[in-house]
C-alpha cells in the first residue's frame, strides 16, 4: 500500500487528502448547491455526512489524522440555525478546546479547520474548500501521525527508535 502511494506521488505529484465532516442540514446541502450551481472546487475533499456538527466527536478528528488524512474540515450550520436547536453551539465549545490542544501539541491549526456553511451558501462552500486545500498544500503531507509501523495504512518505521 505504501509503495503504491509513493508511486502515485511520484507520478502525479502529491495532492492532499481532506476529510470534510458536513452537517446533514446545512453544509451538506450547501455542498450540493455548489455542485448544482456548477461551481467547481478542488477534488481533494472527501465528504462524510453527519447528522449535525454536534455529532462530530473529537475522536473522529484524531482518528482521521491518525489514519493519514492531510487535513480535516468540520462544517455545520450557522449559530442559531441548527436543526436540533443547539447542536452547533455545543460543538463549538468542543472544537475550541480541541483546536487549542492540537495547537499546543504542535499540530498546525490549519490542518483542522471549522466553518459554518448554510444550505444557501454554495459559493462559500467552494471558497472554504479552496482555502483549506491551499492551506494544507502549503503545510505538506501529514507525516506527523505516520511515525511508526502501527499505522493501519502501512506507515513508515519510527523516525527514531524509542
Amino acid at each position: 500500500m505504501e509503495e503504491r502511494r509513493e508511486a502515485e506521488i511520484k507520478e502525479k505529484g502529491w495532492e492532499p487528502k481532506i476529510l470534510a465532516f458536513l452537517c446533514r442540514w446545512c453544509s451538506y446541502a450547501g455542498a450540493d448547491l455548489t455542485g448544482s450551481s456548477r461551481i467547481s472546487y478542488p477534488a481533494n475533499v472527501r465528504i462524510l455526512r453527519v447528522p449535525c456538527s454536534g455529532r462530530v466527536n473529537s475522536l473522529f478528528i484524531l482518528k482521521a489524522l491518525r489514519s493519514g488524512m492531510d487535513g480535516i474540515l468540520v462544517s455545520g450550520c450557522h449559530p442559531g440555525d441548527c436543526h436540533y436547536t443547539a447542536g452547533n453551539y455545543n460543538a463549538r465549545r468542543k472544537f475550541a478546546i480541541l483546536s487549542r490542544l492540537l495547537e499546543y501539541v504542535g499540530i498546525d491549526p490549519r490542518r483542522v479547520q471549522f466553518s459554518w456553511v448554510s444550505a444557501s451558501e454554495g459559493e462559500k462552500f467552494a471558497k472554504v474548500v479552496r482555502e483549506v486545500v491551499a492551506d494544507v498544500k502549503a503545510l505538506g503531507p501529514n507525516e506527523m501521525f505516520r511515525l511508526d509501523p502501527g499505522n493501519q495504512n502501512g506507515g513508515k518505521p519510527a523516525a527514531s527508535p524509542p
Binding site: K63, R66, Y89, F95, Y104, G106, G150
Partner: protein, 326 residues
C-alpha cells in the same frame, strides 16, 4: 499530626459506623515502602486502628468512589474535595451518601523532585521532615535543606483551594496554601506563564510531545488512577470499531492521550495523579493545565468548585468564542 486528632477521627468514624451512616471509611495507612502511605478502606471500626495521618497522603481518595457505590466516609484534602464536587456534578455519587472529613494538608512531598534536588536516588533518602519554610532531607547521614519549591508537588506550589470546598467535619489544623501566593499570576491562573513550551514554534512543540509520547507504554495507569475517568468500558478497549490501536506507537499514543484529555475536560480538577503514577514520567499535567486554563479563559469555568455551574460541554452561550471558525 498529633495523636489526639487521630483518636478524635477514629472515634468519629467508629460512631458513624455504629450509627449506620457509613459502610466504608477511606483513609490512609502506613505503606510498606519508605515515605509512602497506602489507601485504607475500612469496612468496620476495627480497621480504623490502621489509620495513619503522618505525612505523604498524596492519594486522591475520591478515586475509590468510582467503585464503592455505598455510604462512604472519607478523608479529603482541599484539592481532593474538588474531585468530589466533580463526581457529584457528573451524577456518579450523591452528596447525601458521603461523609466528608477535611484534613489539613501542608503540601505533599514529591519524592522524584527531592531525589533530583539532592542528585541521588529515592532509596538513599533516610528521613524527610519539614521545618519552617524548608524541607529537610537526610541522605547518607548528611542533612540537606531544600526550599519548598524543590520538594513539593507542582500542584501544591499553586494551591488555590487548601480548605475542602465541601466537608461535614474539618480536622483541626491550619488550612493554608503551603507556599504563599507570590504574584497575582499564581493565584489567578493554575499555571499561567509557567510552561515554557507554549510560546515555542509548532515543530518544537511537536518534537517535544513525540519524544514524550513515544515512551508511553500504554499501561493505562493514568486512566486507571483518574477520579474523572469513570466509564465502565473505555473507548481504548473497543474493537468494533477500533478507535485506537492497542500497540504503544507514538501516533496512537497521541490519539489516546488527546482523547483522554477531551473526555475528562470539565471533570478533571488537575489533581495530578496521572502524572504522579506515570512510570515513564510523561508530563501529562502540562496538557491538563493547558486545558484547564483554556476552559477558564474561554468559558470562565473552573472544574469542581461550584455545584451549580454546569459542565462546560453541557451548556453554551451564544456569544462563545467563534474566531477560529470560518
Amino acid at each position: 499530626m498529633p495523636e489526639t486528632i487521630k483518636d478524635e477521627l477514629i472515634a468519629l468514624a467508629a460512631k458513624l459506623f455504629r450509627e449506620g451512616k457509613i459502610s466504608h471509611f477511606l483513609g490512609y495507612q502506613k505503606g510498606t515502602l519508605k515515605f509512602q502511605t497506602t489507601p485504607l478502606i475500612a469496612l468496620n471500626p476495627e480497621d480504623l486502628q490502621h489509620l495513619w495521618l503522618e505525612d505523604f497522603f498524596f492519594f486522591n481518595l475520591a478515586f475509590y468512589l468510582k467503585e464503592i457505590k455505598n455510604k462512604v466516609g472519607l478523608l479529603v484534602k482541599g484539592c481532593d474535595s474538588r474531585s468530589l464536587l466533580s463526581l457529584i456534578k457528573e451524577g456518579q455519587v450523591k452528596r447525601e451518601d458521603l461523609y466528608v472529613v477535611g484534613i489539613p494538608c501542608p503540601g505533599q512531598i514529591d519524592l522524584r523532585k527531592v531525589a533530583e534536588a539532592i542528585a541521588g536516588e529515592r532509596e538513599e533518602i533516610e528521613e524527610i521532615w519539614r521545618q519552617g519554610n524548608e524541607v529537610h532531607v537526610r541522605v547518607n547521614d548528611q542533612e540537606k535543606r531544600l526550599p519548598k519549591a524543590l520538594a513539593l508537588l507542582d500542584k501544591c506550589l499553586h494551591c488555590r483551594y487548601p480548605k475542602p470546598l465541601i466537608s461535614d467535619f474539618l480536622l483541626p489544623g491550619e488550612y493554608a496554601p503551603p507556599v504563599p501566593p507570590a504574584t497575582p499570576e499564581t493565584t489567578q491562573g493554575l499555571s499561567r506563564g509557567r510552561d515554557e513550551l507554549r510560546p515555542k514554534p509548532l515543530p518544537e512543540k511537536w518534537a517535544f510531545w513525540v519524544d514524550q509520547f513515544q515512551h508511553c507504554l500504554r499501561c493505562y495507569a493514568c486512566r486507571n488512577v483518574c477520579p474523572a475517568c469513570f466509564c465502565p468500558r473505555c473507548i481504548v478497549e473497543e474493537n468494533m470499531p477500533q478507535w485506537v490501536s492497542p500497540l504503544p506507537t507514538a501516533g496512537d499514543n497521541f490519539v489516546f492521550h488527546l482523547m483522554r484529555l477531551m473526555h475528562v475536560a470539565g471533570t478533571c480538577v488537575s489533581c495530578g495523579e496521572c502524572q504522579r503514577v506515570c512510570p515513564m514520567e510523561i508530563p501529562l499535567m502540562r496538557l491538563h493545565d493547558k486545558m484547564a486554563e483554556d476552559l477558564e479563559e474561554l468559558y470562565n469555568f473552573v472544574a469542581g468548585i461550584d455545584l451549580d455551574q454546569p459542565l462546560p460541554f453541557r451548556t453554551f452561550r451564544q456569544e462563545d468564542a467563534d474566531d477560529f471558525i470560518k
